[in-house]
C-alpha cells in the first residue's frame, strides 16, 4: 500500500505519466501506458500545479484564491482527487 498523501505531501506525476493537451478534442489528459485520464477543469487545475514543489496545502490555497472558495473545503477535495490518482499509480509524493 502506498503512503497516504497529506496536506504536507508534495505531489507530482510519476515519470511515466504525461500531462498533455488533446488538441483535436480540446481537453487536457494525463497519458500513461494503456491509460488515458481525461481531466475536468478542477482536475486540470490541480494536476497542472503538481510537480513544482508545491505542497497539497499550497495547491489548495492557490485554488481557493482562484475559485473564491473556502480553503478547508478545497483541501479535502484536492486531497481526495490526488489520493485517487496516487492509488492509480499516476501521482506520488516527491519531497523536495
Amino acid at each position: 500500500m502506498s503512503t497516504p498523501l497529506t496536506a504536507d505531501s508534495r505531489p507530482r506525476l510519476v515519470v511515466h505519466a504525461r500531462l498533455q493537451h488533446d488538441a483535436v478534442r480540446d481537453r487536457w489528459v494525463v497519458q500513461a501506458p494503456e491509460r488515458l485520464f481525461v481531466l475536468d477543469e478542477i482536475a486540470y487545475a490541480v494536476v497542472s500545479r503538481c510537480g513544482n514543489g508545491l505542497s497539497v496545502a499550497e495547491i489548495a490555497a492557490a485554488l481557493s484564491a482562484e475559485f473564491d472558495a473556502p480553503v478547508d473545503e478545497i483541501l479535502g477535495d484536492v486531497l481526495a482527487l490526488l489520493q485517487d490518482l496516487a492509488d492509480k499509480g499516476i501521482v506520488h509524493d516527491h519531497p523536495a
Binding site: 497519458q31 501506458p33 506520488h92
Partner: protein, 371 residues
C-alpha cells in the same frame, strides 16, 4: 410550397485514440499464442521508414494520443529510433512492446533520447524452463531478466507483460512478485486469447476453470496489497465467461492497427474475415480509412447487430464481443460471439474448454521465426 428536408440521422464517429503500429512480424521468439497472423509478412513486405513516419504524423493529426510500437520484435527494425522520434513529434505517448531481444544499453539510451515514454517487456513465465519452452528458445528468460534493469537504468518506465495459460497459471503470484522485484510500475496479466496461433494451440494452453478462479482471486488480492506501487491489468479469458469482452473496445471505436505491410485494420486479426478488403497506407490516408472505409464501418456501433445482440442491454458495453472469434467458432463474422452465454454455441464452447483443459496438454505448434 416548401419542402422540409428529412433530418439526416448521423452517427458521429469519434476519432481513434491509439495506434498499434506492427512494425514487423520478424521475431526471435516463437510463442504458440502469438497474435501475428499465420501468414507472416516478410522483411521485403515491410513499409519503409518514410512511410511509417508519415503514418505517425497522420495519427497525431487524426487525434490519436498513443502509439504502441509492436511486432514481431519492433527492435528488429533498425529505424526504431527514428520512428520513436517521429511518434513523439506527432504528440503520441510512445510505448515499445518488446521481447527485450535486440536491445542493449546504448540502444535503450538512444531510444530514451529519441523520446520513448515507456517499455513493455514480455516474460513467458517466472521460471526459466517453462518460459524458454513457450518462447521456443533456450536462454530467452535469462536474457529478459538481464535486460529489465538496463531498461530501468536508462530511465525508462517498465511494464511486464505475461500471457497466462495452463503451464504458468499456477505462478501468477510469482509473476507479480517478479514485476515488483524488476521495479516495474505495471504488469499486464493477460490470459491467452484463442485466435490464430492461440486457437491452433488451444488444447495446449487452456487452463481449467478452477485454475482460472484461483488466479483471478490472487490478482484481486495483489491489486489491493500493491495499490499505488504496482498497477495490475488483468485480461480475462472468455471461454469461461458469461458475456464477451469488448474486443478492441469495440470495432473501429478506439484503436487503429497498421500492419507491417501497411494494411490499415480495426484489429490485428481482422484480415481473417473473408470478403472484407482493408485499405493500405500506400494508397489511403488514415482519416479516410477511419471515417469512410466500408470495412471500418462494417461492425462499428450497433447497427450491424442481429438478435439477441440488437436488443441486449449490454450492446454498448461489449459491442457484441469479437467478430473474428464469431467467425472462427460460429462460421460467420456477424454471428453472436460464442463467448456470450446467449450464443447457441456457448455451452458447447464451455464443455470444450473443460474437456481440453482436463486432458493432457498436446505439443505446441510453434509459430515460425526469423529476424
Amino acid at each position: 410550397m416548401t419542402t422540409l428536408l428529412e433530418p439526416q440521422v448521423e452517427v458521429k464517429v469519434e476519432p481513434p485514440l491509439a495506434l498499434l503500429a506492427e512494425l514487423t512480424h520478424r521475431c526471435p521468439l516463437r510463442c504458440p499464442y502469438c497474435s501475428n497472423p499465420q501468414a507472416l509478412a516478410g522483411r521485403s513486405d515491410e513499409l519503409p521508414t518514410e512511410a511509417w513516419l508519415d503514418v505517425l504524423a497522420q495519427a497525431g493529426r487524426l487525434g490519436m494520443l498513443q502509439v504502441h510500437l509492436s511486432g514481431g520484435e519492433p527492435a528488429a527494425r533498425r529505424d526504431l529510433e527514428a520512428l520513436v522520434q517521429g511518434a513523439r513529434a506527432a504528440g503520441l505517448y510512445t510505448n515499445l512492446i518488446t521481447s527485450g531481444f535486440l536491445l542493449d544499453r546504448d540502444r535503450l539510451e538512444r531510444l530514451k533520447q529519441a523520446g520513448l515514454d515507456h517499455v513493455q517487456l514480455s516474460v513467458q513465465d517466472s521460471e526459466a524452463t517453462g518460459a524458454d519452452r513457450i518462447a521456443g528458445l533456450d536462454g530467452a528468460h535469462a536474457r529478459k531478466l538481464a535486460i529489465a534493469p538496463v531498461i530501468r537504468a536508462a530511465g525508462l518506465p517498465l511494464t511486464l507483460n505475461v500471457v497466462i495459460h495452463r503451464h504458468n497459471i499456477a505462478r501468477v503470484p510469482d509473476l507479480i512478485a517478479l514485476a515488483v522485484s524488476l521495479d516495474a510500475a505495471r504488469i499486464e496479466v493477460a490470459h491467452a486469447q484463442y485466435y490464430g496461433w492461440g486457437l491452433d494451440n488451444r488444447g495446449a494452453l487452456m487452463p481449467t476453470r478452477a485454475q482460472l478462479e484461483t488466479a483471478t482471486a490472487q490478482v484481486s488480492e495483489a491489486r489491493e496489497r500493491l495499490k499505488g506501487r504496482l498497477v495490475i491489468d488483468y485480461v480475462l479469458p472468455d471461454y469461461y465467461a458469461r458475456r464477451p469482452k469488448a474486443c478492441m473496445g469495440g470495432w473501429a471505436r478506439r484503436f487503429m492497427v497498421v500492419a507491417p505491410d501497411g494494411q490499415i485494420l480495426p484489429c490485428h486479426a481482422a484480415p481473417t474475415i473473408p470478403d472484407l478488403p482493408f485499405p493500405n497506407v500506400r494508397e489511403t490516408r488514415l482519416n479516410e480509412a477511419w471515417f469512410r472505409d466500408p470495412a471500418f464501418a462494417r461492425f462499428r456501433g450497433t447497427d450491424w447487430m442481429r438478435e439477441p445482440c440488437r436488443s441486449c442491454d449490454r450492446r454498448e458495453i461489449d459491442w457484441g464481443g469479437c467478430r473474428c472469434q464469431a467467425l472462427a467458432l460460429a462460421g460467420a463474422a456477424d454471428a453472436v460471439d460464442p463467448a456470450c452465454a446467449l450464443s447457441p454455441l456457448h455451452e458447447q464452447l464451455v464443455a470444450l474448454a473443460e474437456r481440453e483443459s482436463a486432458t493432457d496438454a498436446p505439443a505446441f505448434r510453434y509459430r515460425g521465426n526469423s529476424v
